[in-house]
C-alpha cells in the first residue's frame, strides 16, 4: 500500500490513529476555551465581577 510494503495497512492505521487522537485533543482544547470564554462573558454581562476586577474599576 503506497509503497509501504506488505504491512502498509498497519502503518496507515497507526498514523490515522495519531491524527485522530491529536486532532481530538486540539479540537477539545479549542472548543473548551471558547465555551469557558462565552460562559465568563455571559456572567460578567449579568454583573458578576471578581473582587479584584471591581477594585481595579474603583467600584465597591
Amino acid at each position: 500500500m503506497f509503497g509501504l510494503g506488505p504491512h502498509g495497512g498497519f502503518i496507515v492505521a497507526s498514523y490515522a490513529a495519531a491524527v485522530l487522537i491529536v486532532g481530538g485533543l486540539i479540537l477539545r482544547a479549542v472548543l473548551d476555551h471558547r465555551a469557558q470564554k462565552t460562559a465568563l462573558a455571559r456572567l460578567e454581562e449579568r454583573g458578576a465581577r471578581r473582587r479584584s476586577d471591581r477594585a481595579r474599576d474603583g467600584r465597591p
Binding site: H33, K37, L40, R50
Partner: protein
C-alpha cells in the same frame, strides 16, 4: 515559581507561549514526517513497518513524561500548596491518557505484523495498560468530587501512589523476559539505534513534546477559566440571595 502562582499572570504567559509552541510543533512534525516517509531507510528486519516507531516511541515517552509532570504537580499541591499545581494535574491527565492510548494502539498495530499477535500479557505491555488505567482513575476522581480543592488533594495522593508504576514501565524490559524489545535510545551506554533512524525519531519526539506542552498550557488556561466561571456563578447566585457579597480572586 511563586511569581507564576497568580493565575492572571499565568494566563498572560500562556497566551503568548501557546501559539509559538504550536507553530514550532507543527513545523517539526512536518520536517519529521518528511524525513520518516522520504529519507529514513526501512529496517533490515522489519521493513517499512518500522515507520510505526516514529509515533509509537514518542507517544510512549510522553505517556510516562506526562505522569511524571502530574506527580510533580501532586507534590506541588500537597507540599507547597501552589495554586496552579492541581490545575496542572487536572489539565495533564486527559493528555496522558490520550498519549498512552495512542502508545497501546500503535504498539498493537506494530505487534501484529512483527510478533504475530495484537497483545501479550507481558510486563511492558501490562504495565503500560496499568498506566492507562491510572490515568482513567485520576480523571474519574477529578470528576467525582465537585470542590476543586478537595478533589486536588485526593487526586494528588492517588497520583503519587500510581507513580510507583513509572519505573516499572521503564525497567520492565530489563527486569523480566518480555516480547517487547529492550530500550534502544535512552540507555546509560548511549543509543544503539542507527543515526538514520535516530534523528527522525528525535525530531518527532521533539514535535510531540512541544505539542504536549502547548496542549498542557491550553488545558491549564481552560481550567483556570472554568474555575472563574464557577466562582462567578456562585457569586451571582449569592448576590441574588444577598446583594453585596464578593468572592476573592483566585483560581477557584
Amino acid at each position: 515559581m511563586w511569581r507564576y502562582a497568580n493565575p492572571t499572570v499565568f494566563l498572560g504567559i500562556a497566551a503568548r507561549l501557546i501559539p509559538i509552541l504550536s507553530v514550532l510543533a507543527a513545523g517539526l512534525a512536518v520536517v519529521g514526517l518528511w524525513i520518516v516517509f522520504f529519507v529514513a531507510p526501512a529496517d533490515y528486519q522489519q521493513g517499512q513497518t518500522v515507520k510505526i516507531m516514529y509515533i509509537h516511541v514518542p507517544a510512549a515517552w510522553l505517556a510516562m513524561g506526562c505522569y511524571s509532570v502530574m506527580a510533580l504537580s501532586a507534590i506541588g499541591t500537597l507540599v507547597w500548596r501552589h495554586p496552579l499545581a492541581d490545575v496542572s494535574n487536572k489539565a495533564a491527565a486527559p493528555l496522558g491518557a490520550a498519549f498512552t492510548a495512542l502508545c497501546l494502539l500503535t504498539g498493537s498495530l506494530w505487534g501484529k505484523p512483527m510478533w504475530g499477535t495484537w497483545w501479550v500479557w507481558d510486563a511492558r505491555l501490562t504495565s503500560v495498560l496499568v498506566l492507562f488505567l491510572m490515568y482513567c482513575g485520576v480523571i474519574a476522581l477529578w470528576n467525582a468530587i465537585e470542590d476543586p480543592t478537595r478533589a486536588g488533594r485526593s487526586v494528588a495522593i492517588l497520583t503519587l501512589v500510581g507513580f510507583v508504576n513509572i519505573p516499572i514501565v521503564k525497567f520492565s524490559v530489563d527486569w523480566w523476559n518480555t516480547l517487547h524489545q529492550p530500550a534502544r535510545v535512552i540507555r546509560l551506554d548511549g543509543p544503539t539505534i542507527d543515526p538514520s533512524m535516530l534523528w527522525p525519531l528525535l525530531i518527532m519526539a521533539a514535535a510531540a513534546t512541544l505539542l504536549f506542552v502547548a496542549l498542557h498550557l491550553a488545558g491549564m488556561r481552560n481550567e483556570i477559566l472554568r474555575r472563574r466561571v464557577r466562582t462567578l456563578g456562585l457569586l451571582a447566585a449569592s448576590q441574588d440571595e444577598a446583594p453585596g457579597l464578593a468572592v476573592a480572586e483566585g483560581t477557584r
